[in-house]
Every structure is written in C-alpha cells, then in structure tokens.
Amino acid sequence: MKIAVLLFAGLREATGESRVELELGDGATVGDAQAELLRRFPALRERRYAFALDHHYATAATALGSARELALIPPVSGG
C-alpha cells in the first residue's frame, strides 16, 4: 500500500521535504510508517509530534487502512 506523508514547520525544515510517499505492507499502522520515516530521515529522531490520518488525530497503533494522507503534526502554535 502507498501513503502520502506530510511534514510541517520544523519537521519540514529538518528533513527538507514537505511531502513524501511511502510504500508499506498491507495492514500497516501509523507506527510502521513512522519507523520507515525514521530510517529515511534520522533528523526526525529527536522531534516531538503527533499523528493525523486523513485530517483526524491518530496514534501509532492506528491502522492506515484506506487512508490517503498521514501528517506529522509538531506542537501547534496558532492563534
């Protein structure tokens, strides 16, 4: 399965990417995607962020299922 991963703010700057595509096994979870991202981008290792799957907050245990977009959400600071 394929999923698009979006990177924002400091994560975008640290990786140099705002969007990457991952190829993962069927039944993969958010945590599996994270492991793959950490392999490709060691700069993500010491960062804090939450996950969002198709615009809703998710956890590492959430199955990617048929989701199209995973986002790493660094601590928000809007307003």
Binding site: F8, A9, A52, H55, S77, G78, G79
Partner: protein, 142 residues
Amino acid sequence: MTSSRCELRFTSACIALEPLLEEVRSDGDGAVVSFLGVVRDHARGKRVRFLDYEAYPPMAEVQMRLLFEEARERFGLERALVVHRTGRLQIGEASVAIAVATPHRAAGFEACRHLIDRLKETVPIWKKETYEDGSAWIGERS
C-alpha cells in the same frame, strides 16, 4: 432569521475585522464578541522582528469544525467566523480574528474565549518567531 454558520478561513492578506462583524451577525443577535491576536514586539524575553505562520488547511478545517461543535453544545453558539493569517507578519498585524454573534453577551464571551483557547491546542497551525539573532518554531523543543 437566526441562521447557523461557523467557518474557518485562511488569508495571506491583512485581516479586516469590520466586514466579519457585519457578516457574522443576524438580526436576533444582541452581542458580537471578537478577538484579535496581534503580533507583539517581544516574546520569550526576546525582541521579535517578524513572524511566519504555516497551516495545514484541510485538517485545520476538520479540527475547527470539532471546536465549533463543542461551542455549540456548551454555549449554544451558532454563528462564528475565524480568520487566520499565513505567511509573514509584521509587529502589530493580526494573526487571527474570531468574531461570534449571539443573542446575549454571556454566551458570546464564553464561546469566543473557548474557540481561541482550543484553537491554540488542536488546530494545525505553526508559528515561527524571528528575532535579532535567529529564529524558532514555537512549541517544538519545549
């Protein structure tokens, strides 16, 4: 007469509040409470030169809708407009404007306060502060 509408918008231009107040109000409303978040000249003990805001708009819309729903359940809020800037902002410019219209003022104050408090907790928008000697995405390394 008392239409229901809550909406989040992003803009890269200066926010004008007055048109939002006009737009949000209906004839049964006796109170319009608004909040402007404005770029201050200092933060975290440093002198701020300017800010940059970045957002994830489709998710921001989903999250904001959840907050509008919260405010509707708690305060009966039916009409609110939230406008958030993106891109570079100078000192004194508004980063966010929230306008809520309600029949009575108590609900208006409560709902407006709730929306800005919760927006800062869950809506995917990020601020980078640039100082005389560097810059930082806020919240990231705390």
